[in-house]
């Protein structure tokens, strides 16, 4: 009510000055009236939403998240250190753990298996190479080379014709 009363007074002063042709008075009263109008405000949380939208995710992430990540990493490293440091003690536990020698033997066996697979692969590759060599020798005859050239030319003509046929409809419709 008080705000309305104030606005009413301002508006009266302005409209009276306008009616009287008092430009200065009307301008001053109008300024007071518009200044008295309430400013529109955004919904609650606007500033937070803007900051989240404006800043990169790494900067806008809350501090506790970064601490959580650091804590998790530290815990993981500590566990690894613990396991490594206490490994000799673990061998005294009533659990059947492999010895170091057995571990080395297993690793060596695995590497040997992989090497065997490589060897088989190399044999296959060598066979393919010999087949290719034989084909190359056969193609060195003039008849074979002429046949190859003729096939290439025919294939080029065939593809070109096919392309023209396929694009014919598109060209004529336009």
């Amino acid at each position: 009510m008080r705000k309305d009363r104030r606005l009413r007074n301002e508006m009266d002063a302005w409209l009276t000055a306008e009616a009287a042709g008092d430009e200065r008075g009307a301008e001053a009263a109008f300024a007071a009236l518009v200044g008295a109008l309430p400013r529109l405000t955004p919904a609650a949380g606007f500033a937070e939403r803007v900051v989240w939208a404006a800043l990169p995710p790494t900067q806008a992430a809350p501090g506790w998240l970064a601490w959580l990540a650091r804590g998790g990493l530290a815990a993981a490293l500590a566990l690894v250190a613990l396991a490594t440091g206490f490994l000799p003690m673990a061998t005294r536990l009533p659990v059947s753990l492999p010895s170091f020698g057995e571990v080395v033997k297993s690793v060596a066996g695995g590497l040997a298996w992989i090497g065997g697979r490589f060897e088989t692969g190399l044999e296959v590759w060598e066979l393919l190479g010999r087949i290719g060599e034989a084909i190359t020798v056969a193609l060195q005859t003039p008849e074979a080379q002429a046949g190859l050239a003729g096939s290439a030319i025919l294939a080029t003509i065939a593809f070109y014709t096919l392309h023209q046929l396929l694009t014919f409809e598109r060209r004529t419709v336009r």
Binding site: L7, V34, R39, V51
Partner: protein, 195 residues
């Protein structure tokens, strides 16, 4: 240990201070939102546009030079451009191509029927504040913008000219016309000086 100036906050924000960003937004959220909302006459849309304006401002915060003017005017300019871009786009979406207007700031084709209640304010009998706000809503967007910047944000005429990109004479003309049109609207609605 008083309140930090805008330029100080900008410098801190550029150094990576999130709290400085937040303080800048909190300091200007109301003026920017008010300006945009008065221009587009839709609260929900105004929030989106105001947010867009702030994001643009912070993205190019390093281009602000304190020696070239106030930070507030720089921010208002971005808000003005954001709102104007939306109004122009709305105009392109709604006006048939064969009736393209000359490239002038005439937004009558975009605005809803002036007699209809806007989403922003509705006239309630006996509520003078709302009646005035509704009357302001009936003005052209550039008139609304000019009187808001002048009489609510306290910008000088030359500052308004800088923000809006309009000549100084045009700014003064718009404010004068806004006043006259508003008086006519209120008179038409039956508001007259008491006593």
């Amino acid at each position: 240990m008083g309140t930090k100036t805008d330029e100080q906050l900008v410098a801190e924000a550029l150094s990576g201070s999130q709290s400085a960003y937040t303080r800048l937004v909190e300091r200007f959220e109301r003026p920017v939102y008010n300006l945009v909302a008065r221009m587009v006459r839709d609260r929900g849309l105004a929030e989106d546009l105001a947010q867009e304006a702030f994001v643009k401002a912070f993205t190019r915060l390093d281009t602000f030079r304190s020696g070239q003017g106030k930070f507030s005017n720089w921010l208002f300019k971005i808000a003005h451009n954001t709102a104007i871009d939306h109004l122009r786009k709305s105009r392109l979406d709604t006006v048939p191509l064969d009736k393209t207007e000359p490239d002038e700031p005439d937004y009558h084709a975009v605005l809803a029927d002036a007699e209809a209640a806007t989403p922003l304010d509705r006239t309630v009998a006996g509520d003078l504040g709302r009646a005035l706000a509704a009357a302001v809503d009936r003005l052209r967007p550039e008139y609304r913008e000019a009187i808001v910047l002048r009489h609510q944000e306290g910008l000088a005429y030359d500052e308004i000219a800088e923000v809006t990109g309009m000549p100084l004479g045009t700014v003064k003309t718009y404010i004068h016309r806004a006043r006259k049109e508003l008086a006519a609207i209120l008179e038409e609605a039956g508001w007259a000086p008491t006593g």
